[in-house]
């Protein structure tokens, strides 16, 4: 055990140099401290988007200089104190080119919409919004109500039944989501996550709920205090991710991204691709989880937030707000409207490269190139040591807690450029 005084001393020194302790923002349960790896992310003066810089980026009536803000985020992430508000912009909840007043109105409108949806759900299953949650099935496979479950059995249409069947699965996953964080010691906070996922499953009944969505939603629940705001932030994140969660009898949506990954590696590192194919790994299924939950299992909690905001800043397109304002069905296409030079400057680094080369492929998300960059980092070991797919999995599992989010992003951008130039030829 390190002496307490010594540690505090170090922390104080770090504070003075601009790096501070993240433990205050995402406290770990005392009994989990020993087993939880320390995050690598540290807010850095002059690099990380600070609260002061963030506030200064707004004009008097509330227009946001998104270009300036993106530059900061891509350099050093977002300070934990303001992550929630910044995420709302990079995920496209709000238009930077709007006033405070307009946004307040929109927020109010969205909160009311959420309350209406929640009331619909509550009407069918009264546990919704009660501060409690369900972990055992309330409805059988053939649509019969399980005895002593308190649900309104007048709802027997296909959509309601399908939704009710997802609720206990959501509950089972919620009670094991980020349990090392003190935040989820509270039953109320668990119920908040459950409510949001349940209402999302109701609204987006096409996707409903698939395991892994809990990992995506959990940070929003922590960062945004208002439940409706957290829901909308999650909903915007899902606009990018929902196709990954689409399941059919023969495949899962994420496999489309996996085949893009296969294409990328084949183009930028044919030798590695050949080796993986020889090991029967041409489907790249070992990268399944990285893409499904956006590296939540490979990075600590704080580091995955850092990775996500870097990603979203790099993928930012000034058209996403208006694109996402359309209903889900119409927004499946990427933000491909014409961008003039000024708007191009408001794109993230990744998006700008994409737009410049006229690449409209929705599936070539930055996440795919992040996986490519991880594979490239392990390229030598995979080529030399992997004699089976299990070895590949083992080699990749070594990255857990050992990667620098910014470095992975930087390398991913390089690979993306290389891929674009090679794919052109």
């Amino acid at each position: 055990m390190v002496g307490r005084g010594g540690l505090t001393g170090i922390v104080n020194i770090m504070k003075r140099t601009g790096a501070e302790d993240l433990g205050d923002f995402y406290p770990i349960r005392p009994d989990c401290l020993a087993d939880t790896p320390k995050p690598r992310f540290k807010p850095r003066a002059g690099k990380t988007l600070s609260e002061r810089r963030w506030n200064a980026a707004f004009s008097e009536d509330g227009h946001l200089d998104i270009e300036k803000v993106l530059r900061r985020i891509q350099r050093g992430g977002v300070h934990p104190a303001i992550k929630g508000s910044v995420w709302e912009f990079v995920l496209g909840c709000f238009d930077p080119n709007s006033t405070y007043e307009e946004r307040d109105q929109l927020r109010q409108c969205r909160r009311e919409q959420y309350i209406r949806w929640k009331a619909e759900c509550q009407h069918m299953v009264p546990v919704i919004g009660s501060g409690k949650l369900i972990t055992t099935p309330i409805i059988t496979d053939d649509g019969q109500t399980v005895i002593d479950s308190s649900i309104n059995s007048t709802f027997s249409d296909k959509r309601s039944i399908q939704w009710m069947r997802a609720l206990h699965q959501i509950g089972l996953d919620v009670v094991r989501t980020d349990r090392t964080l003190a935040f989820y010691d509270s039953e109320k906070n668990q119920a908040k996550l459950w409510d949001i996922l349940a209402i999302y499953a109701w609204v987006d009944n096409d996707i409903s709920y698939v395991q892994g969505m809990n990992d995506i939603c959990s940070p929003m629940v922590i960062l945004l205090e208002n439940e409706a705001d957290a829901f909308w932030c999650f909903e915007r994140a899902m606009r990018r991710l929902r196709e990954n969660f689409r399941c059919s009898a023969s495949s899962m949506g994420v496999q489309t991204q996996l085949s893009t990954l296969s294409q990328v590696i084949k183009t930028v590192d044919p030798k590695l691709h050949q080796h993986l194919e020889a090991l029967d790994g041409g489907e790249y299924l070992f990268a399944f989880r990285m893409l499904m939950v956006l590296f939540r299992r490979e990075f600590t909690f704080a580091d995955s937030l850092y990775l996500w905001e870097l990603m979203w800043a790099m993928e930012y397109n000034p058209n996403i707000f208006s694109l996402y304002e359309k209903p889900i069905a119409e927004s499946d296409k990427s933000a491909e409207s014409v961008l003039n030079n000024k708007l191009l400057k408001q794109c993230g680094k990744f998006e700008r490269n994409k737009v410049k080369t006229g690449c409209k492929d929705q599936q070539s998300a930055l996440a795919v190139f992040l996986v490519a960059s991880v594979l490239e980092a392990k390229n030598k070991r995979i080529l030399k040591e992997a004699k089976g797919l299990d070895d590949v999995v083992q080699i990749l599992s070594d990255i857990t807690g050992n990667m620098d989010a910014r470095k992975v992003c930087k390398d991913a951008l390089k690979i993306h450029k290389k891929y674009l130039s090679k794919a052109k030829k």
């Binding site: 989990c32 087993d35 094991r176 989501t177 698939v210 009898a249 489907e283 399944f288 299992r297």
Partner: protein, 207 residues
Amino acid sequence: MASRRRMLLKVIILGDSGVGKTSLMNQYVNRKFSNQYKATIGADFLTKEVQYEDRMFTLQIWDTAGQERFQSLGVAFYRGADCCVLVYDVNVMKSFDNLNNWREEFLIQANPSDPENFPFVVLGNKIDVDGGNSRVVSEKKAKAWCAAKGNIPYFETSAKEGFNVDAAFQCIAKNALKNEPEEEIYLPDTIDVGGGGRQQMSTGCEC
């Protein structure tokens, strides 16, 4: 290091979400239990070196996602399995009722050469919960199902307490081995116990 690998036995763990598949695997391989396991996404695996009749084998245990919606991945993950472990929670009736679905789904997707004789092992987990008071599936009922499906070996376990987990996996290893055709069994001239560089070795205290 890069010597030919020891004979590999592939084991797949299936069962409803939350019955304790990840916990059972970790209890067996690492002798640890945690309340902090997250839901398994896709599939994951751990390996353990096992000895059987003076020979060393590598048990590769695949832990899978419990949600039905991941089932399309079965074809890829179940391929080449030597034994399939079906897990249910003795406190949740539905998880027992679903054993049949899991078994059939496995046989369809793994498509073993001799489905009639493919080795399964059934585990009734979480017998520690509430001192057994919340139990809804009796041992008798579970054993009857196993008998009807061609005498599947049955174990009652507690991954939390570590109860019966070793015995169950010994049986799993033995059955996986039986499934492996005799001619495929080869052994390197020297057995490099502890030199494999793997993280999990069975050298831990057995007592």
